[in-house]
């Protein structure tokens, strides 16, 4: 009976880490030391929204299986790293991290963390513009080594920066292929799609589906009050999104250094595991000696305490999200709750205000 229980326990243990099928898109292994392509001149760039990344519940090869809080942090942290990279490239207008899908974004980046350890980062990214044109649908894969971690004693310089550079460069290549007309079409489609979210009745007729994409059939007159109303509300939305973005920035700055240490632990331990001789948690101690055993436990304990710190900070972030007070059309709006809840509430209020102004009979 005991043998059976043991076997069941072992099998149960195995079921926590099933083999996840890889996305069907081709993975690009990022070359080392890839420089960021920085814009030298510029017409106004398109605005980019990066949605908080998704993460596999059970990430194959990840050391984070038992650490939902780490996943939760990296889902918000990694998009912000991409945002800062896109900002530095200078090819774009406002780049913002947002908690939800935004079909009216000029450029929307959605991502999924496929593998994330201190050694390896694999992200599945999909970049789509407002017309539905898919710019990128790609798995990006980068592997870190000792040199990546050696450049900064606090490990804050991202060891996977080459991956973000590659994504930014790929996006810049697609953007550079757009002519003025394409550019204008994306901006106008985004505005009309935003109008559609507020009032499908008024704006549906300007867009027709074209396969996976949408085509703009025309635009409302420039002085159309509905269209002007949409633009006005959208400006307010941008202000609110900036405060949401500030939340992610705060998370990036506060949790970043801790996450960096955690990632370094992961690197050290994963590499140690692979190297042999059990983890280099023993760091020079003779394997099997008491000293080595103590070092192994000490390393385990340090990593767990770091994980605790990361979890507590992450929970604090969710708990302590400050209420946002903002004003729109002379009305003061105060939003409470998590950033996700605030974003949802904001969207609802905007739609209600639009309705009150333009569809008073509803």
């Amino acid at each position: 009976m005991r043998v059976l229980l043991c076997l069941l326990l072992w099998l149960a243990g195995c079921t926590t880490v099933p083999e996840e099928p890889e996305p069907s898109v081709l993975a690009v292994l990022v070359a080392e030391s890839l420089a960021l392509d920085v814009a030298t001149s510029g017409r106004g760039g398109l605005n980019v929204n990066i949605r908080v990344f998704e993460s596999d519940q059970t990430t194959p090869g990840s050391i984070y299986l038992a650490a939902a809080q780490v996943r939760s942090v990296e889902q918000r942290y990694l998009p912000y790293v991409l945002k800062t990279t896109l900002d530095r490239s200078g090819h774009w207008g406002a780049v913002r991290v947002v908690p939800r899908n935004d079909p009216s974004a000029e450029i929307l980046v959605v991502g999924r963390v496929v593998v994330s350890t201190g050694v390896e980062l694999k992200l599945h990214l999909r970049v789509v513009d407002a017309t539905g044109r898919v710019w990128i649908d790609q798995v990006y894969h980068d592997v870190a080594d000792d040199i990546d971690y050696a450049t900064d004693p606090n490990f804050v310089i991202d060891p996977f920066r080459d991956l973000y550079h590659r994504v930014a460069n790929d996006m810049a290549v697609v953007a550079s292929q757009l002519n003025e007309q394409d550019h204008e079409e994306i901006v106008n489609t985004a505005t009309v799609r935003y109008g559609q979210l507020l009032s499908s009745q008024a704006f549906n007729r300007y867009l027709i589906p074209d396969g996976q994409r949408v085509r703009l059939t025309g635009l409302p007159a420039a002085d159309d009050p509905l269209y002007l109303g949409v633009q006005k509300i959208r400006e307010s939305e941008y202000l609110f999104t900036d405060s949401v973005d500030a939340y992610y920035e705060s998370l990036y700055r506060t949790l970043g250094p801790i996450y960096a240490w955690w990632r370094y632990y992961s690197f050290e331990l994963v590499m140690g595991n692979e190297r042999l001789a059990g983890i280099d948690a023993t760091r020079g101690a003779t394997r099997g000696s008491w000293y080595a055993m103590e070092r192994t436990y000490k390393t385990f304990k340090e990593a767990k305490m770091n994980q605790d710190a990361l979890r507590e900070l992450s929970e604090s972030f969710d708990r302590e999200t400050a209420p946002t007070t903002t004003e729109i059309a002379g009305r003061v709006v105060r939003l409470n709750g998590t950033i996700d809840t605030q974003y949802e509430a904001w969207r609802r209020i905007l739609a209600e205000m639009y309705d009150e102004e333009f569809n008073p009979e509803r």
Partner: protein, 221 residues
Amino acid sequence: MLSSGIRLCLLLLASLPCFVLASEINPHDVDFSGDWELDYQLSDHPSEKIRRVYIETKSAIERELQRQGNRGRVLMDPQRLNLSSIVGLGRLAERIAQATVLNVDQDTGHIEIHRNDDFTLICNFRDMQARESVIGAEVCSWDEDQLIFEIGLPDGLHVLQKLSIAKDRSRLNIATTVRIAGIRFPFTLNRVYMPFEPGEGLYRCEHTIAKQTTCTLGGSQ
């Protein structure tokens, strides 16, 4: 893919004595929650316990050797039964069981045991499967009304912490057992905790993102 080291640890956890006897969520409805501080009087004193176990083990070895000697053969494997390992295991157990204050948060679904200067022991009662950890593997389980945390680490190091509580909630015991593959005797250290009212100290500290850690005088509210 799981690394071979971690798979080995998961296997190790599963192959060591199995304590998973019930799959129910908290089958005996045990409540460990509260604030606890070390009761030095009732707890094992590491050095004394090491000395006692050393003497007992030495006697056991001598008896064994005598018994085997009487039969004209000596089969004692010094790797499996050596006295220095008692001291090593004991010292390791002492380091692992060093916490003097516990704060236990528990609800129907999970428990968090916060320990001073140590990591938090967390168990999700709804998902008590062995799982990969930063290194090695971890599992929590129930043995009747005792809650068990097991950690399997590389090189055959295995740590088991068994929590039990008196019916009147006057004491909570954590029995920490350290075992190393290939060494016959594990070492167990009992640390007994008693309830205490927190916040009566001179300082009350709070950690927030905005203010980091701030402490104020006059703890009780």
